[in-house]
Symmetry: C2
Subunit: 455 residues, 2 copies
């Protein structure tokens, strides 16, 4: 007899993963290597270690180790806010009147408000272990900066966050959370770095950009002793750490004998989606089970659905290595949509390669549709989702409604990456009926892609 | 052999309480009855039912039923965000280097951000069952209004919230959460009620008060068909519903064979504390175990520590019944401290009577000390607490440090009622070093108490 499924499945501490899953190691055809921007050859561990902590640089380049042990100190921190619940969306199913079974992995029940903490604590741990004084990073909307502040505070590391100036001014609450955790938050562009000074001189009164904040954070790390730069998405190491999401999800489903049919996640740089799908993708590649895997992106930044698969710079400032990925070009400036975490021009190499191999599909959705779904979800499931997360909900609902048409009882699993408590200005726009949609024209996309580096 | 205690104890769905515990029914000497403001006699069910839903009015007056069944619909809603975890504060213990064992019941993992949802959903359920169209209420800081909006949205009830005007303007995010859940949020004083119009005429440009918002909400309920007024604290019915906090806590402790020594909670109107201590107080009154029970209040509103035990009005507008309680007088205006939920001039009758009988003690704490503790807690336990909740943390830490002095291994349990995500302006004041403390002088207290009604 099948066990009755509770509203929320919480694993026991003893069931939590003890190793991260390195998805690339399971791929027959691996993602293309990162290239050194100066030599255009695969980047070396040595060079990467100037910017990143050594162990993280090693993880970044490792596509052989299938599993990498989670250090005990990190597992202890995980125990403070994990396991994250796998929720059976009984109320949503009822509201949609669908025969589909819907589950979501909820990563929002921690002070950073999202899954970002999973990698932040790992990166802080390795920085501490290396004997560093601190780390630097950039943050836009502020989720990553918050997560890193918490992680650094736990390990007693200095944390320097360059926050895009307009966010610094418009989102003072996120800034204050970081300060409460002892982080040093600087509006970017600042006068504390050479690159910041230069940009301020060139563009007086600028409110900054993520590209500029990255450049400042990298300079702040490489120009002083005992510091390294850390990043919350796109990188292989981040996907590795985020596999804890998928591993817990799979264990919880297995525990109740549930077989998923569709796995859905939102995709900005790919950190959450890459982590969520990891163990399912392994089974798919090994022919164990044929999951339908869907990446959801905003129509305003349609990297996977309308970009090209090519080598490109990971950052606007071109200080990071080049990656082969689906991209709209590192100069592409997406419209100011309300899902700040999904405004990245590229996509992590692993997901790009999986998409190229036809193992993963992608859809783009309009933000007004996303907020409409978010509102429904909040009302029936009691959780107010982050705009980013609501992209996944939108497609989960679409798929559940298809099941209603066909009568199929598919099992849908999606990632609910975070809460929207710090996004109420966006909800206000929606509540006031003044939110707009953005879909770039073909010309705009072509123009952006034409600027890709040529090799 | 004792089971190892995990970081977080989550009960199984089957272990969740099926009935609320009615603490008053276990008391030999009951709290004094509510008095009708017009007759000064104990208020009747009939009269109370004009303002409150019938079943809730019944619960309000019931000091006989020891347990009251939780309706299945309410239990199903509880399953969406409950059981709340009982957390073993391993990291805090380590940071304090104390032999004490510290546990906290965390009620913040839901979109309303606090324990208020436990009663909101029950009150909405009874309103729906009575066939009402909607309910009205007031909200200051916004936690109760948010919880009620969520509950009403779930049951398809209209929800009219009168929000103190200065909060409406200064806390737009809470307002937007309520609107996202479909609530009608009106800044108070408004021009939609007679009392509102009158106040606006008398005091042009006023930014409102909780007392005024209560009066408007009561008028809005009683002046239209199919509406009743609901309230988030102070009332007996609210304590009843909140007993789910204490019952889950007790079950979780029992499951692991843990015996608590000290139970601590913050106290504004008393809703959280009354719920948390319920099953422990029963054991204490029955001589099963002698728990030390501590109510914590802000030094700026020292109801239990410096007030008198007497009949007083529950609201500034004097529209509600009179209650015998610890009070500073319904005209007492506490300093604008950062724990808006603890700025009530009185205390629920049950807790007042328990204090008077010597079964519960009370302490008042300075808000700068509270925020200092909140910051430490956020850093070591990863949860950013609401300023209200942090009052309980402060005393828990004090007690744990006493254990360090004496070497005693006491088990301390406190209620972490909610998160501080919407309180970052207060944290900012603390981070900037400009937060002040308020302690009323003896003269101020005497002057306020002198205005109590005389019978």
């Amino acid at each position: 007899m099948k066990k009755e499924i509770p509203y929320k499945i919480y694993l026991e501490e003893s069931e939590m993963p003890k190793a991260w899953l390195n998805l690339r190691a399971f791929m027959d055809k691996k993602p293309a290597p990162l290239l050194d921007g100066e030599t255009l050859k695969p980047i070396t561990l040595e060079k990467l270690s100037n910017v990143f902590c050594e162990e993280l640089a090693r993880q970044e380049l490792d596509d052989e180790s299938k599993f990498i042990e989670i250090p005990e100190e990190v597992r202890n921190f995980y125990k403070m806010y994990r396991p994250a619940p796998l929720v059976r969306a009984y109320c949503l199913e009822k509201a949609l009147d669908t025969p589909a079974k819907i589950y979501y992995k909820f990563e929002g029940n921690n002070t950073s408000g999202s899954h970002k903490l999973n990698s932040a604590i790992a990166q802080a741990y390795y920085a501490k272990k290396q004997g560093l004084k601190g780390v630097t990073t950039e943050t836009g909307a502020g989720q990553w900066g918050t997560a890193l502040s918490m992680a650094c505070s736990y390990f007693g590391l200095d944390c320097k966050v360059f926050m895009v100036k307009c966010s610094y001014e418009q989102k003072p609450f996120r800034r204050e959370v970081m300060r409460t955790y002892g982080a040093d938050v600087t509006p970017s562009p600042s006068m504390t770095t050479e690159v910041g000074k230069k940009i301020n001189e060139e563009f007086p009164g600028t409110t900054g950009s993520l590209g500029c904040a990255i450049s400042e954070a990298v300079e702040a790390a490489t120009s002083r002793d005992g510091y390294r730069y850390v990043l919350g998405s796109v990188l292989n190491q981040v996907l590795l750490h985020q596999s804890v999401i998928g591993l817990e999800t799979k264990t919880a489903l297995d525990k109740y004998g549930v077989k998923a049919d569709i796995i859905i996640g939102c995709a900005g740089g790919g950190s959450n989606l890459g982590g969520l799908i990891a163990p399912f993708m392994v089974e798919k590649m090994q022919g164990v089970r044929d999951y339908q895997i869907i990446a959801v992106e905003p129509s305003s930044c349609p990297t996977l659905t309308r970009g090209v698969y090519a080598y490109d710079y990971c950052d606007t400032g071109k200080v990071c290595p080049l990656a082969k990925m689906y991209t709209l070009g590192s100069g592409y400036i997406p419209a100011a949509s309300h899902a700040g975490g999904l405004r990245y021009h590229g996509m992590t190499t692993t997901l790009s390669e999986l998409k190229d191999q036809g193992l993963m599909e992608a859809r783009s959705v309009l933000q007004t549709e996303v907020f409409k779904t978010a509102q429904t979800f909040a009302r029936v499931e009691g959780i107010l989702p982050a705009p980013e997360s609501a992209h996944a909900i939108k497609v989960a609902v679409d798929e559940a409604l298809k099941c209603k048409e066909t009568g199929e009882e598919k099992t849908i699993v999606f990632g609910l990456t975070g809460t929207g408590y710090f996004d109420m200005m966006s909800y206000q726009k929606f509540n006031d009926g003044v939110m707009k949609d953005y879909v770039p024209t073909d010309e705009e996309i072509e123009k952006a892609i034409a600027k890709l580096p040529k090799f």
